[in-house]
Symmetry: C2
Subunit: 351 residues, 2 copies
Amino acid sequence: MASRTSPTITTIAQAAGVSIASVSRVLNGLPVRAETERRVLDAADRLGYVPNSVARSLKSARTHQIAFAVEDIGNPVYLAMLREIQPLLKAAGYRLVLHSTGADAAEEIEVLRGLGQRYADGLIIVPIRVTPDHLAELRAAEAPVVVIGSLPDSGLADNVRTDSRRGVEMALRHLADLGRRRIGFINGPADTVPGHARSEAFRSGTARAGLAVADGTVHEGRFDRETGAEAVHRMADAPAPMPDALLCANDLIALGALDALRARGLDVPGDVAVVGMDDTDLAAVSWPPLTSVSLGSAERGAHAARLLLDRLGADTGAAPSAPRAVTVEPRLIVRASTGGARVVDDGSAAG
Amino acid sequence: MASRTSPTITTIAQAAGVSIASVSRVLNGLPVRAETERRVLDAADRLGYVPNSVARSLKSARTHQIAFAVEDIGNPVYLAMLREIQPLLKAAGYRLVLHSTGADAAEEIEVLRGLGQRYADGLIIVPIRVTPDHLAELRAAEAPVVVIGSLPDSGLADNVRTDSRRGVEMALRHLADLGRRRIGFINGPADTVPGHARSEAFRSGTARAGLAVADGTVHEGRFDRETGAEAVHRMADAPAPMPDALLCANDLIALGALDALRARGLDVPGDVAVVGMDDTDLAAVSWPPLTSVSLGSAERGAHAARLLLDRLGADTGAAPSAPRAVTVEPRLIVRASTGGARVVDDGSAAG
């Protein structure tokens, strides 16, 4: 019978040779010296201690954490999202767990699968590629997920996207309005979600704006500064005339292009107008300041945080509502690299 | 007797009217539908279920999380640290929990105190002010803490610092070598750890380099771009001659100064040479590219992560070793805003 009676905190303290307060701390998961913890746990094991807090601990399986997973937190686009997401989560009582996956699809899959370990109550993810494995994991996800970026099946998860095709068209129309006719394009990897969308948009947008795309003026690399510089040097070394405008698939590429144009003695925007995408902090700082297509990174981050918090709040109620999709409209921020300083939004992009 | 016998998973499944697999999921803390969870917990409560996994769950109190707390994750200095810290923690099997405290000392205190809730196995913190409350919480911290920044008592915690005084002196010597004689200084809040150190260093460094500090050319504001622009406009509006060089307490201030100097038609470096501090990504992007004192943000982040991982690894062994301190040496990265393009390191700063 002695072994059937669950010991009290006092019994354990006596057996372990420590204070009652120490036992209480250990049994409540609070930190104590390693030696103290070992002695309490040994005594509790030996005496067959069983806590009556099972239901409580199971019911409080909420972690009060939300994970945010991006390719590279060093990229200012993701930083702009993080700056909106972090205070919203904090205000709602959640800690932020940050994953930087290195654009590795397998790591993104691991992050989704890892939700089954219940380290976070929800996840905001910006996948750079959406593979069939991503879709399968999204279907099986063990906690609410919000995807920033396009999904082939909008019923899979809450989803915040932008219309990068429209953004590209706004940039091309702006360049055409300025009288530019030979447009070059420097893209990141075309097998990524953003790279593919920009490539398609460039193809259709130049056609619609009546712009020529000369041979050797469409380049593909990474979403970085080196890619922009290399592409400009290759164009400058080629026998064909330089384009009179360059559309760059992100601001980092555009900054590299500006570096190389300067090195080549070409004036921006006199000889070549340059447009970036993402409108990061770097766009306003560069010289000349960079015209850039804002894809609303900050707004997308804020929408994603709100969608997730809504769902976590609603979780306690009835069956979950259907996944929702939010689209953030692009805007063209015109600066000196194309000669002006104004914002072009929906109105001027229409038609 | 029936009530004394702990029910099995099968008994609970029957009582709850759910599958054995569902009971297993709930009792192991895995996610299930809310309704299922409620029924299992009710049945487990009713039947007096007691798990035998207490010791296991107590022993695995490790969270495999490390917290990183900074004033503002939007500041590129902290981003540079994060970019080093994140992969090191990931490689060691830790998730990163990010706190952005808004430079609120009370919030920093909360982060330190929150370690008692065991949501993280350790903390890397960059306090902007070190108050007596900070020191008290550091003394009482319930998990290992690494402080990036100066501490009045090096015995309190592992500590990674830089020598910003030396960095300021290197910058002043560089300006003196270029023949500049009237040096202005634009600082952030002088009651912060970095603001105070820079202010002291400017005072002593100008004296040692034989540089004059004219009336009305020392300004204090925030560590942001607006502060730099406002200070330049105030100096330009004043009757006294403009300084021929400006030392700015960080790169953001320097970028604001560049904006205002351009707006005033002043040439950089012809009329005014400009030096920033922190050598962030923005320094290389600005026009003209910005000479900046590197305080080794990336290196400080990497050192902090390694110190913390060492301590967590050693935690299982004997009594903890004494707190360690690492100092990262500053370097001056010379770019066009002072007329050159070279790195000045220890050698040229000596004497």
